[in-house]
Symmetry: C2
Subunit: 262 residues, 2 copies
């Protein structure tokens, strides 16, 4: 690295580029982490439109030019190698997980990579306000659920909204909603508070992705739109080829969370 002053974010990306694998929760605290999805140029418009039509699950932070692996959100980063764990998708199916996506980026010269906001940013803000984030306290992954709520389709892309759930004490639900609302670029306000059955969720103890968490008496399950929603669209729409991060293994940017605060 040519930079003299390596920030924690840059140091983490360097570790991942060298092959380290770890979930990124808690790494480089206060810096925006991003969901990623790379698609052939032919699919880029449909995806960008899908994101515009579904901004809560798919808040776009940056889009690369076709064939480019760099982003304005992190100078010197290589999107092919600086994420700890990638998923390779073929015809809407998860094909494999890899730590270096370079060989897969090399399959096509027209891939466009989208960087999408991540809930880690508003979780920091919740904790700053003294609101406990259960899965962080318990050292587990956030529970995520497919829902019966369909996203607004765009071109060939369709799919259900995926939500993440955090139990919040009833007395602090309003504050949690307000705090996250001020960060619309990282999913914003909750999409649903309580009543999981109305989202088609039958068992809060059996998430579709991530781990279940304790819900204490007096706590309400609060649901936020989730950045795994694009992966659900890849599956539902049988996208021929895509490269994404693995859930929980995000791209760490050089941009502070506060940049996106309204």
């Amino acid at each position: 690295m040519t930079q003299i002053m390596a920030t924690e974010a840059q140091a983490a990306r360097t570790r991942y580029r060298a092959g380290a694998v770890e979930p990124t929760a808690g790494i480089a605290p206060g810096m925006v982490q991003a969901n990623t999805i790379a698609l052939p140029r032919d699919w880029a418009y449909d995806f960008l439109l899908y994101a515009q039509r579904n901004p809560k699950p798919c808040p776009v932070l940056d889009v690369t030019d076709p064939g480019s692996f760099s982003t304005v959100l992190a100078e010197g980063a290589d999107l092919r190698r600086d994420i700890p764990l990638y998923r390779i998708w073929r015809d809407g199916q998860l094909a494999e997980e890899v730590t270096d996506a370079s060989p897969f980026y090399a399959e096509r010269d027209d891939l466009v990579t989208f960087l999408i906001g991540c809930s880690f940013s508003f979780e920091s803000a919740l904790m700053e306000a003294g609101i406990e984030v259960r899965h962080i306290v318990d050292g587990s992954n956030v529970p995520m659920f497919r829902t019966s709520r369909q996203c607004r389709p765009a071109g060939r892309l369709k799919g259900e909204m995926v939500v993440s759930m955090r139990p919040i004490p009833a007395s602090r639900v309003a504050e949690a909603a307000t705090i996250s609302a001020r960060l619309p670029a990282v999913h914003g306000a909750p999409v649903h508070v309580g009543a999981p059955e109305e989202l088609g969720i039958r068992d809060l103890g059996a998430p579709d992705f991530g781990d279940p968490v304790r819900i204490e008496p007096g706590e309400i399950p609060v649901f936020w739109a989730c950045g795994v929603t694009p992966q659900a669209a890849v599956m539902a729409s049988r996208v021929p080829f895509a490269i994404t991060h693995a859930p929980g293994y995000m791209f760490i940017t050089d941009v502070p969370d506060s940049t996106y605060r309204i």
Copy 2:
């Protein structure tokens, strides 16, 4: 119209469809008005990306499917006819102004129409807070200026940012910034406060679009990103064909301003 309860917004669109021409400032107060630009499908990705990369001047509220003239923001509306005044652009030049764009929409079957937030929404919020909006009080059009600040390019699209200016008493500048910041879908917080020369603006009395306004002693010129920016990109990028609204003659939606408040 099949609807029994015609709102003021719907009534205005019906008048414009029948041929009425008037600036839309003050019409259907409290309802979101939108800048519009229709482009061939081949240019749609570049434009959507340009908007993503320049969200303050180009906050996208809706995008039609190619060849469609309807929007989720106003049921039953016809984007070809429900705007009081349109501009037709050829090779980056303004070709003509018309009250019915149907013949021009008929030239191609793949036009994609973008609806973009408009400052009228935050002007309502400023006035609700008792902050005078000078050009409204004086019954003139808002002064708009080209700047020396280039937007971030996207594909074939480039161009300078256009700003609108409102003089605000020094004691209320912070409040004006905060109030508009909470409406990121309609340009959000100011991009610049005072010091017009740093934007390349030499004479506040000679706007590039709209009318000059009085600046009283103790007032600071406050600059917001402006929805005319896409028209500047059409010109700077020599876009082969585009249909836009005429500045000040907006598309009136059925969506209340409060929908976009954070």
